[in-house]
Symmetry: none
Subunit: 88 residues, 4 copies
């Protein structure tokens, strides 16, 4: 009865149940993610109708993410290389 998909006593179906659980949870979270994306889109639309430039606004937000990270880069060594290439 290996292929009887109604027989929950088989290992095959234990795996099937597990797979279902995994797929369900992923799909659930993806929907929430999608809803948030929609909310974000709405805010951009609101910004646009308030006269802000969307493209530049995106750029601004991107920069705010990057700036803290950029501080502690391997600045020293990079600087040495840049000097070697006359990029000072």
């Amino acid at each position: 009865m290996a292929l009887d998909t109604t027989d929950t006593s088989t290992t095959g179906n234990i795996a099937a149940d597990r797979l279902k659980s995994i797929v369900d949870r992923i799909e659930r979270l993806e929907e929430e993610r999608k809803a948030l994306a929609s909310d974000i889109k709405d805010i951009y639309a609101e910004a646009k109708s308030s006269g802000f430039d969307i493209k530049v606004l995106r750029q601004l937000i991107r920069m705010r993410k990057q700036e803290p990270a950029e501080i502690e880069e391997q600045e020293t060594l990079l600087d040495v290389y840049r000097r070697a290439l006359g990029m000072v």
Copy 2:
């Protein structure tokens, strides 16, 4: 005094406040989005350690978003192309 940036009664600062609000809300939602992405990643990791093939699992979830007719169509088309190249 339209350019006096310390005067909160000017339209300039109303716009600035509006921009701040917009940026704050977007950043907040983006963080939630990021958290969800992390949760999804965790589930894939769990699936992997349960023995599922992640790549195939992703394909499966992608397919579930499509209409059955659409799936059928792409599969048929792929088959046509494979035959055309003798990949039967």
Copy 3:
């Protein structure tokens, strides 16, 4: 005889020939691309054995690509701030 794949007089086979040509050319170019990637990898390996830090070296090369683009970016951003404060 619509499905006779040996009949070159059918439109189906004209399409098949076209597909073959397309696939062949793409695969050819991808091989060249792969060969170049391999060459680049070799140079990084050489750099490493000469004592250079590969990660920093990659960062340096990335920067050399971006720097010209960044000039314009900053100007755009300045404009954003001005607009946000109604200083247009």
Copy 4:
């Protein structure tokens, strides 16, 4: 005078010359790579205007890189998962 960057007799400048050579060669190869990528893109565009489905075409080319046994295995696995979820 170890830090005199104008003194070409120092080991520092030997390293600088070496770095320059490395960076130059990498940048040269990356440009060639970029040109090939552009050529490939053009062929996909041509394929599209000839009526081919680009997404399926990409999948086909990906498959041609795999071993036939590997393709079969993934297709089988996908089928198993689909059945487990009742997607028949």
